[in-house]
Symmetry: C2
Subunit: 318 residues, 2 copies
């Protein structure tokens, strides 16, 4: 299924009659028309945005590729549950419902420098977790993550899918120094040399983490349900890239919420063909950059659906 | 008066203890600490944002420098009052109170190619309108405008204050074609050659419009009251630039909400030393770009004031 072409066309025609110079709301106009297509309404409404946080642990952390110890994953899950993390505040400001899904935190993925991160059952279980977490009544979805070590996994995914050098895709994550970044690049090089995943799903299985797989599962479910998605940062986009590798239309329902300060994120967005809405230097994960963009979608929809036309307002249209 | 240094310092110290990698909220961290200083609270709150729209008419419209006829100013004021314009929707999404102030619409300013746009009494009346419109209880201010012809006035102000060529400061406004832009540049050149305003206030009087003067009056009042300001587009920033010409600290309470698609706005922001929060190609005026940025301020404050510290959450801090 895809967007409703008739609704999209009606929204575009309506937009052209609203009391403003043509095009003067810039990207808000494109966003509103895109959203109208997915909601199937000339005058859409945003009532039920959903933020899903998935958490997973990574065997590769044993190689010293993160500035934080792996215990932080479970500690932050507890913090999400009591409302103390950044994403709790950002989801509240955005009027979004937030739920947290921890995936087998006491059973990290295998170190993908030695073996595939997951077997097929584990892959399917994580996909299922993401798939089932989506509220079918939601009208906008953000998927976020927590998983110490997961920028290493995302960089390996990007290198496997798009090629280049490990250094092109490796960044500081939560705050690595230069020697940490070099160690991380060597790990990513080794991992991709070991595996030759031929598909998006195999890439997820060999190089992913459970939270990354769950994000992919949730975004795929949203595509099937016709729920628009705001993409978050580097890790979310690595998950999305695996879907795009499976089908060129897999991300038609997705817009990039922001460009993060993780160094390779802009390049990854370019590979996905998704220009970001925001660029405020965030590099936190948790869905934070995408949640910050929810009010922009809300504003775009409010203008399309709430403004008067030139005829209604008795305003001369230039 | 300026920001509360102790509150700002306390907010910075609190920010450093929150459950996130240091700096990972990017510009949101700077915004929240800046706001904490102006509110004088380590954990500030945003409860009462205000959007003020000022409207004025311009004698210079007789020279064919706008894509829309001058009657549209009063028509759009009526549209603001019944809630049909873009800014009505954007203020509602932002949770901001909106009021509209029309300044002598049936008495346009004089054509500033022939004489100063206003006399001193008219200047003072417009400043007073802006000054009085600010709610002393507001905790964030956006000033927007409506006035057919006012990008011509703003370009003349920018040329008078910052020099260069008229073409550096003239853009398409609401949608001029190339010949219209050339005509507008000639008008701006003539206007600035006629007047030699030595101060920000004289620049407002000779080259401004009543709505531009009122915006300056409102932003000056906000500075005195310690109310933070989000700057809107080219016209708002031209008004702000006249204040900056009067005092180098006049805009310490102001952050740029967005960079608009009006071609000279990025250069004007650079002159003011204000990097924009958003860049979504808006070019509508009405305070629209600044209102769109209010949720970003709200989000920044929510993170600073609502997040748990590492100690509170029992999270290892790397």
């Amino acid at each position: 299924p895809g967007p409703d072409a008739a609704a999209q066309q009606a929204a575009g025609a309506r937009n052209a009659q609203l009391t403003k110079p043509a095009g003067s709301l810039g990207r808000l106009e494109d966003l509103a028309i895109w959203y109208a297509g997915w909601q199937g309404a000339e005058r859409p409404a945003l009532n039920r945005p959903q933020v899903l946080i998935f958490a997973g642990n990574h065997g590769v952390t044993a190689r010293g590729i993160s500035a934080f110890p792996p215990e932080v994953t479970v500690q932050m899950v507890a913090n999400f549950k009591v409302g103390g993390a950044a994403i709790n505040q950002l989801a509240a400001v955005a009027g979004a419902e937030l739920t947290v899904h921890a995936l087998d935190l006491d059973r990290p993925t295998r170190d993908f420098c030695e073996a595939p991160a997951m077997n097929e059952d584990e892959l399917l279980a994580a996909l299922r977790c993401g798939w089932d977490a989506v509220d079918p009544q939601a009208d906008l979805l953000v998927t976020g993550e927590m998983g110490i070590g997961n920028t290493t996994s995302a960089a390996a995914i990007a290198l496997a899918l798009f090629g280049g050098e490990a250094a092109d895709w490796v960044g500081r994550g939560t705050g690595l120094d230069d020697s940490g970044v070099a160690r991380k690049a060597a790990v990513v090089t080794d991992a991709v040399a070991l595996h030759h995943p031929g598909t998006g799903l195999e890439t997820l299985r060999c190089l992913g983490g459970r939270e990354i797989v769950a994000m992919a599962g949730a975004m795929a479910r949203a595509r099937v349900l016709g729920i628009p998605v705001l993409l978050d940062g580097f890790i979310c986009c690595a998950a999305a890239a695996c879907l795009a590798a499976e089908s060129p239309t897999a991300l038609d329902h997705a817009v990039a919420g922001h460009a993060s300060a993780e160094s390779a994120h802009p390049a990854l967005l370019e590979k996905l063909g998704k220009p970001p809405l925001l660029g405020l230097g965030l590099r936190l994960g948790e869905g934070s950059g995408a949640a910050l963009a929810i009010p922009l979608i809300r504003a775009a929809i409010a203008c399309l659906s709430g403004m008067a036309t030139f005829a209604e307002a008795g305003v001369a249209d230039g």
